[in-house]
Symmetry: C2
Subunit: 485 residues, 2 copies
C-alpha cells in the first residue's frame, strides 16, 4: 500500500465510522450512477461516494477530506448538463439524505428545506400550505433543491418569479474547512453586512456546500389563462410581448417561443399532438396569464391585447385554451420539444441570453449566420423569450452523418457565441459553466471578472478542495474541459 492509498483508506474508514459503512460506497456498481451525467458527455471516477444524513455529517466529511487533502464533488439529483457534478478523483458528497422540510411559514411566505429535497416535493409542500413555490423545470421530479440553488436554476417561471437566486432568502453552508455558516435568514430586509448568500448560490459547489435554504413562497394562482399565438416573425412576437407586459404586468407568467420547425417536429413525433392554429406562421408564442384572484378576467385581458394586436398586424392568429385539457395540450407542444430534437439526429446546443430588446434580432441574425455556414442546417431556436433566454439549437441536415455534424460543434459555438457577445449577452443563461463552458468562458468574460472569481475561489477555498476545476480553474494542472469527450 502506498502512503497515499493508506491515508485515503484511513479517510474512508473515518467516514464509515461516522456515517455508517452503508453510506460510504466504494464498489464500482454502487458508484456508477454518481460518476456521469444523464447526457453522458462526461464520465469520471471517485474514491468513494459518501451520503451524510445531516449538516453535522456534511461538516464532518468536509473537515476530514480537507485534512486529508482529498477533493469533494457535491452532488444533488445529478441532473446537470454541464459536467459540474462529475468527479475526477476525490469523494462525491451526495446530499440526497438531507431531505427534510424543516419548516413552512405561510404568513412569512417562506419555507426552510434541506438541500436533498426533490424539487417536486418542495413544490408539493408549498401547495399543501396553499402557497406557490414557483421554480419549475423539466427535471423537477428528480433534481434536488440544493443543486437548483448551487446552479441558480431557471426554468419556465423566471419571467414572473425570477431565478433560483431570487427565490432564496437564506442558506446554510458548509465551508471548505468544514465550518457551518448558518445563514438561514427568513427576512425580506437585512442590511447587516455583505451579501454572503449570493456568493454560494450559483457557485456550483466550488465555494461551499449548501445544506439547507429558506425559500420564498407566493400566493397561489387561482385563475389562469393560456394562449397559443402565431406571428410573422420574432420581431412581431417581441412587439406582442411588450404590449402584454405593459398591459397586464405581472399577470404575465410565461412567454415561451418556438419557430415553425420546432412545432413541426413536435407534431411529427408526439402521438396525439394537435396543430393548435390553422396555417403556418414564422413564430409561435405560448403565453400564460395568472392571478391570485379567482374571479380575475384573464380571458378578457387576453382578448383585449390579442384583439388589438391582430388588428395592428402583429399577431396572425391566436387561440385561447377553453379547458384544462386544452391548456395541457398547448403546454405539451412546448414541453416535448427537448425530447423530440433527439429524434431528428444530432443537435448542437446553445443556452444563451441577450437583453430582451435584442432577442428578435438575435434569433434572426444567428439563424442567418448558421444557415450561411451550413445551408441545410435546421435551426430550432426556442425557449424563454420573455427572459431573453433562447435555447439556440441546431438540428443536423437531413441525411448528414451525425458524427460529421457534431464535429462542427466548436465552429457553430463560435458563430453563435460571437453574436451573443456582440449583443452584451451570456453564453450560459441557465445551465451554468461546470466543465463544458469553463474554457469558453475565458474567451467571453471580462478578464477582470475572471480574476475576481479566482480571487474569491482562493479566499474561500484556499486548498482547492471544493469541486476543483469546475467553473473557473485556479490551479495549474486542472483537468481540461472536455467538450463532448
Amino acid at each position: 500500500m502506498t502512503p497515499e492509498s493508506s491515508s485515503q483508506q484511513a479517510l474512508l474508514d473515518a467516514l464509515a465510522a461516522r456515517l455508517g459503512s452503508a453510506h460510504v460506497l466504494t464498489a464500482a456498481s454502487d458508484m456508477a450512477g454518481f460518476l456521469s451525467e444523464a447526457r453522458a458527455l462526461y464520465s469520471g471516477s471517485a474514491l468513494a461516494v459518501v451520503r451524510p444524513r445531516d449538516t453535522a455529517e456534511v461538516s464532518f466529511v468536509v473537515e476530514q477530506c480537507a485534512a486529508a487533502g482529498v477533493p469533494i464533488v457535491p452532488q444533488g439529483g445529478n441532473t446537470g448538463l454541464v459536467g459540474g457534478g462529475v468527479p475526477y478523483g476525490g469523494v462525491v458528497l451526495s446530499l440526497t439524505r438531507l431531505d427534510r422540510i424543516r419548516a413552512v411559514d405561510p404568513v412569512n411566505a417562506t419555507m426552510t428545506v434541506e438541500a436533498g429535497c426533490i424539487l417536486k416535493t418542495v413544490q408539493d409542500a408549498a401547495d399543501a400550505a396553499d402557497c406557490l413555490f414557483p421554480l419549475s423545470l423539466a427535471a423537477e421530479g428528480s433534481c434536488r433543491i440544493g443543486g437548483n440553488l448551487a446552479t441558480n436554476a431557471g426554468g419556465v417561471s423566471v419571467l414572473r418569479y425570477g431565478n433560483a437566486r431570487e427565490l432564496t432568502l437564506g442558506v446554510e453552508v458548509v465551508l471548505a474547512d468544514g465550518r457551518v455558516w448558518n445563514g438561514l435568514s427568513a427576512l425580506r430586509k437585512d442590511n447587516t453586512g455583505y451579501d454572503l448568500k449570493d456568493l454560494f448560490v450559483g457557485s456550483e459547489g466550488t465555494l461551499g456546500i449548501i445544506t439547507a435554504a429558506v425559500l420564498k413562497l407566493f400566493p397561489k394562482p387561482k385563475a389562469r389563462a393560456t394562449a397559443f399565438v402565431g406571428c410573422a416573425s420574432p420581431q412581431a412576437a417581441l412587439d406582442l410581448f411588450q404590449r402584454l407586459r405593459s398591459g397586464v404586468g405581472d399577470m404575465l407568467t410565461a412567454f415561451e417561443y418556438m419557430p415553425q420547425f420546432a412545432l413541426d417536429i413536435v407534431l411529427k413525433h408526439v402521438s396525439g399532438a394537435v396543430r393548435p392554429l390553422a396555417g403556418e406562421h414564422g413564430s409561435y408564442a405560448l403565453i400564460e396569464l395568472t392571478s391570485p384572484q379567482a374571479d380575475a378576467d384573464l380571458q378578457g385581458a387576453f382578448e383585449t391585447v390579442l384583439g388589438q394586436a391582430i388588428e395592428d398586424g402583429i399577431v396572425e392568429d391566436a387561440t385561447i385554451a377553453a379547458s384544462e385539457a386544452q391548456r395541457h395540450a398547448l403546454w405539451q407542444l412546448r414541453e416535448e420539444l427537448s425530447d423530440v430534437q433527439r429524434l431528428e439526429g444530432g443537435s448542437i446546443k446553445h443556452d444563451v441570453a441577450v437583453p430582451v430588446s435584442r432577442v428578435a434580432d438575435f434569433i434572426e441574425e444567428a439563424t442567418r449566420a448558421c444557415e450561411a455556414a451550413m445551408p441545410e442546417v435546421r435551426v430550432c431556436a426556442f425557449g424563454h423569450f420573455g427572459d431573453g433566454n433562447i435555447h439556440f439549437n441546431l438540428s443536423q441536415p437531413v441525411g448528414m452523418d451525425k458524427a460529421t455534424f457534431l464535429g462542427e460543434w466548436e465552429r457553430f459555438n463560435r458563430i453563435v457565441h460571437d453574436i451573443v457577445a456582440q449583443m452584451g449577452g451570456s453564453i450560459s443563461a441557465e445551465h451554468g459553466i461546470g466543465l463544458i463552458k469553463r474554457d469558453e468562458l475565458l474567451r467571453y468574460k471580462d478578464p477582470v471578472a475572471i480574476d475576481l472569481m479566482r480571487t474569491l475561489k482562493r479566499a474561500l477555498d484556499p486548498h482547492n478542495i471544493l469541486n476543483p476545476g469546475k467553473v473557473v480553474s485556479v490551479m495549474e494542472g486542472a483537468p481540461s474541459a472536455l467538450p463532448l469527450g
Copy 2:
C-alpha cells in the same frame, strides 16, 4: 514638511493635474458639507474632497490613492444615517459629477445610470419612457443612486418590488487597485460564474466603488387605490395583511403601519392633517393597491377584502381615498412621521426586521419590554410592516431631560435588539451598518459570517484602502465606532 505630508501633497497635485484643481477641494469651508452627516452623529476630517467626472477619473483617483496608501471614502448624496460616508482621514471621493443617464431601454425594461444621478432624476427618466423605477424613499430628492446601491436601500416599495439589490441587474465598479470591472449586464439570466454584482451592492463602499448600474424598470401603474384602516392590535393588522396578500397578490404595493401614538403626534404637529377615521384604534395600516391595467377594479378588490375583514372582526374601521387629494392626505400622515418625532423630544431609534409572521409579536413584546424598563416611555413603532421592517423608535417621557433619556440609548438597544435576535431578525433592516452598528453587529451576527466578511474584505481590498473601518473592521487600530459621539 514631513515625508508623509510631502507625499500627500504629491498625491493631491497629481489628482489636481488630472481632475482640475477646481475638483480637488482642500479648504475647510469647501469640505465642510462632506465631513459630517445631516443627523450629525459623526463628524470627520479629510485631506481633500475630490470630484472625478467619469469612471476613468475614479479609476485614476483610486490607483493614485492606493499607491500612496491613502484611504478613500466614497460618497454620493451624503444622506446616510449610520456614519458610512463620514471620513476619518484620507480622501472623500464624491461621485456627484458622474450624473449621466447612459441609456433607457423600455423593451428590455432597463436603464443604465451613473452613480451620481439623483434618485428622483432616475425616477423621472423612467417615467418619461412610460416605465416605473420603483425605488422610493424620503431622501429621494437628494440621495444618489450609487449610494442607494452601496447601501442596498429599502423604502416604501420593497413589499412589491424589492430592495435596491433586487432592482439592479449589473454594476460597473472601480476596484481597490483602480481596475474597472465592467459588470453592466442588462440580462435577466446569466449563469456564467459567481454573482459578483451582489458583493458590491450593499457593501457600503468597502469592497469597491460603484460608478454605474443597470437598473430594472417595471410597467407603470395605471390604476391605484389607497385605504387607511384601523385595527384593534398588531396581530389584527397582520391577519389583514395576510388576507390581502393571498387575495390580491402583487397588486398589494404598500402596507405601512403606525400605532395610535404616531397618528396622534402627526395630527398634533402637522397643520391641516385630518383624522382619517372616527374613534381610536390600537393599530393603523396605510394600504395601497396598484395595477398596470387602467380599468382594474381596485376599489372593488378593497371592498371585498375589507368588507369581509370587518365582518370577521379583524378590521374596526376603514376608509378608501375617493380622490387624489384624499390619497395624498393619507400618505402625508405616514410621511410626516419621521419629522414630527423630533418635536416630541429625544428619540432612541431602531431600524429592525423580523420574519413577517413575527412582526405583530415583535411590536407587542418589544413595547412591553421597553415600557417595563421605563413606564413613561412613548413607543413609536411604525413602518414597513409588510416587509417585517419596523422603525421601533422610543420618544422620551414627557418632561424628562432629553440628554438623560438619550443616555439610555445602549440599554434600550440591548432590550430591543435581544428580542429581534431571538426572533431571527436583523438589527439593521435598511439603513446599513456604517460605524453606528459595526460593533453592535459583532454581538448579534454569526461569528462565521463575520469571519467570511473579513475574508472577503481582505481578498478584495488587501491594503484596506476602501472606506476602512466601516461595516467590519479588519485592522487593529481601526477607529472605534462612536455611538452618538
